[in-house]
Assembly symmetry: D2
Homo-oligomer: 337 residues x 4
């Protein structure tokens, strides 16, 4: 931690700050520069992080030196984490594709889509039973009925199921029906939900919030790990910017950055990230080329009848084409699907 003092900081103010820092068992090193005095603090930065040093008289600003996360960092665990769910490994050489409809709408449609994506090489079925919708008047999902369909279709097709939990009260029921729990972008900083997800021990798919920095994203994962659950897969799904051609702007650099900073697997959601089906294939290829451990893609066999986000769903034949393309990319970088 570096404490930069104001040009007019007095000796007694400096003394006061040093006393405070030392009272926490930390050592200081004072550097009187031409224009500013700087106090460097040696010792566990976390002890200081929770102190409101900025308000001490004479302080201009406080600059943390270390990242605030621990358990998720590659410093803590240098080798890649591989999250294994019922035999499907996420974070290994083999790239994992999750696919399915945005929302579960009815049993037959779900089965039809699941069979189609399975045939093309997807290993995880996605589909929402609880849907976070901006409008109270939009379709909100089938609830437990939808979970039942997911479980049944998963069993029938041999696909693992991932589905979103929006409400902390639903963790238990979702855990019963699904192999992997998704925490959506809007809940990335729903801290109590993160804690419960940590306690639950279920594999978690944590999506990046639309307005969250990579650092905050990792801090949210830290909530889960620090509650005892290391089975976390991260998902870049686009951030909010001024560009309005796409629904969000996929931050593809988040993939290699997270690979550097953390040992956790990272996948990309090109469907929600762009909001336009015609961009899903090129962004999927970019994600794999950048080192993504997987993809989560919306596929719908009857988008005209979809109750949610039809515009970003691929038809099964387009999905098949996408799978062929990304297999080529995977091979080119020494991975497989």
């Amino acid at each position: 931690m570096i404490i930069v003092l104001r040009p007019d900081a007095t000796e007694s103010q400096i003394k006061h700050i040093i006393e405070k820092v030392e009272s926490l068992g930390l050592k200081v090193m004072v550097s009187k520069g031409v224009e500013r005095t700087i106090i460097g603090v040696i010792g566990e930065e976390d002890l200081l992080r929770v102190q409101p040093l900025e308000v001490y008289p004479g302080v201009e600003k406080v600059m943390p030196v270390l990242a605030p996360y621990k358990l998720v960092s590659r410093d803590f665990k240098p080798v890649n984490t591989v999250v294994e769910v019922n035999g499907v490994k996420i974070g290994s050489k083999r790239i994992v594709v999750m696919a399915g409809p945005c929302a579960v709408e009815n049993y037959d449609l779900l089965l039809e889509i699941a069979q189609a994506v399975k045939k093309c090489g997807a290993t995880i079925l996605r589909g929402g039973a609880f849907k976070p919708r901006t409008s109270p008047y939009s379709f909100q999902g089938l609830g437990e009925e939808g979970l039942k369909y997911l479980k049944d279709v998963g069993k029938k097709t041999g696909l693992l199921v991932v589905t979103e939990v929006m409400d902390i009260r639903d963790i238990e029921i979702v855990s019963r029906y699904a192999g992997m729990i998704q925490i959506g972008a809007r809940n990335m900083q729903n801290f109590n939900l993160l804690k419960e997800a940590g306690i639950s021990k279920k594999p978690i798919l944590l999506k990046r919030g639309m307005m969250s920095t990579i650092k905050e994203f990792l801090m949210s994962a830290e909530y889960i790990l620090s509650n005892g659950n290391f089975n976390v897969v991260l998902c870049e799904r686009g951030i909010r910017t001024f560009e309005d051609y796409t629904r969000n702007t996929i931050d593809i650099s988040a993939v290699p950055i997270i690979k550097r900073l953390s040992h956790l697997p990272i996948i990309v959601d090109p469907s929600h990230g762009t909001g336009r089906w015609e961009l899903v294939e090129p962004l999927s290829k970019a994600a794999i080329a950048a080192g993504s451990d997987g993809l989560i893609i919306e596929v719908h066999s009857k988008p005209e009848e979809a109750l949610s986000d039809g515009a970003q769903s691929l038809l099964p034949d387009k999905f098949e084409h996408l799978m062929d393309e990304i297999k080529n990319i995977a091979r080119a970088i020494g991975r497989e699907i």
Copy 2:
């Protein structure tokens, strides 16, 4: 709703779209332009909003004409809503100031701060018992103990209490202790929490999410109103931008915009919006001048000992000065505090 077709849309595609629209009981008006054919839809736009028209063959884009919210809109209720909580009216000529510490830390400190802000003219006491913190290692609030302090201090000082609920399971307990429930920025799209807040009938202070448009902000309020609770006060607290001198960028134009679009009261939080105590007074003055119905301000008598966000808290004497200044502004625009 306007449906813009692609230049190469065929007659049979156009026919297909028209049939779909008419099957919903709506009327269409087709306009064949030089470069594009456009289909205007007459009737209740909401019927179409949930249809994935973008995926119909031949469609280039779909442009909604009307705002997606209803109950919160000024079209629906032309006169200002005044939210009354135990005699305190929010949204009337008198500007309301909520003040207090970021987090409730201990009883004596809370009482000291409450007495100080009361003396200066605040009518509502703010303070968090449950704190949303980016890091799992930061102080998370006193929980129910904090709620008890708030209730007791509120009673002793005659201040109404507003405090945040982060967890849907805590609505009932927070309702018991506080006069007004705050839904924080990170939960603005926690839709189930919004629904329960609607059902609870308690006055709600809904903060704008850091990455939320004004339209989404109003849609979140719509969740509360559509569940039967019209006692909603909105709060602008800064949005996330590239500017890094302040923690967030206060969107002061949100105040007059919301006044135009909605009948609900709107207040401003200059403490969280800027993250710097020295900006709280000028931003408070700007907010009142722009038409804000109130302010929510962090005040702390010992910021050096604050367990949360000391850097944005005002000392009581600075708060007193602020109150004097905004009284002058209020008078200048024909309001009072």
Copy 3:
């Protein structure tokens, strides 16, 4: 300057960095912490700023401690700069209002508008002869003809004239006709234009770029001052964010921030900043309350016939109302108009 080393930095890497820093005549202070070694550099930070220290082996990041600007900073000149143009003082107790059409369209219209704004208390006439337009097919301004109208109307009404220069080759001609030269948002980082503006010695109105931080804004002003021209007035005119109700988001906190960091005057442009005439008055009031030294406002007597940005122009009677309102605010904060 603080140099943070990687956890795996070797002794010889550290030695290499220290040698480099010392070879520049600077002193170092090495702090070996638990997790990281940090090198603090004492001496003129500017010497180091141009060194690519980030690429030295073993370096994790480099954190500058001081602001990169000098002449524009309040540290350099603690008292407010008052820019005086033909008797009009900007940056003093008296708030200055610049008003006029977006573009100069014809002589009679310009005169009519100028007379109207003069009557209401404006002291500077704004109006573009050269117009930066997103589309090559939009009206690009009258050029020198427009400058002549401005000069003549300014003389006739006793208003000082401010007008934009877009092209470095036009500085001389614009200087001949106008009392003050505007550098627009899109040219805030047109560095050669800034240099010439510095050399010209004309009073400059420098607008903040849509995507520029406050620090970059001040660095652009530094270009002008460092070329010998201290007559610079800054103008906040909105930054680009995800919010799409307004054209830009006015960052009202920029006003008090710039007042703290710099001695230069700062005004606000609520017309371009919002893009909607109905928001101009509330944002003008907010700007004055926040400490702005002035306003620049679009006024048009026949907005239906405006060739540029009619939607954000006020009618003269609305402008009159605005002037009355901000006089009240100015009085409330101890200033005048």
Copy 4:
């Protein structure tokens, strides 16, 4: 163009608008909905685009239906444009790599770097003689001396030269020394520079502004094309967002979007887009996979001595590795380098 009226628009207001539109030779279609009346306009939208319809009494908003650009659009020219510069084709099956130092620093270093990048397969040499720098105190480039080095080194190595022009007065001289002229991000809306670039007929590399939408980017290219120069290569180089780990956020979706909307070639600059050399390779791979026609990459053989942006420059051996990797990606998608 769709004109949406306010709910309280009167018959005479509607009549007034219709008269205006018809006076321009356009046809209208009025649609009286349940909640709003809408006027659809048939005919050349451009005629209306320059009319300030928003200010007409009774108008709520105006929604353009068509894109505002013409010559750059794929509607105008369905086949890909291939820009050919001295035998190097940009926009064809073969991917083009431009590489070199950020700034030209001295002759020997430039030659060394040029030879290194040539050996790895680059065909165009990049390097700045005029450098846009945020600070007036940073290295501003060697000017004409640098241009001479570029020309000479280009000749010696057989590399085509691209270099930036910052000042409209330098177009002629830069044209003399370089095969291709770069217009940088900060000048993307320097409209007079764009016009002159159009008149010059030289191949232009136009970089996307940090705060510019794709639509605005294409409009800036339209300035060049509409002045007679169709030899334009577009370059995505990152936009400004709240994410602060990277200098900018590369909007990789811009590549397939521009491919859809326009016939012009598009390349990506991963060096400026990320600001960190370790991200250049993964982002390069992503760009190629997404369909980019090329890359522009900073390479420096002695980054410790670079006078500009050393932190984002690759060493020649890292560049060699990158070239190998992207060759594999190119092959996987049926292209070559």
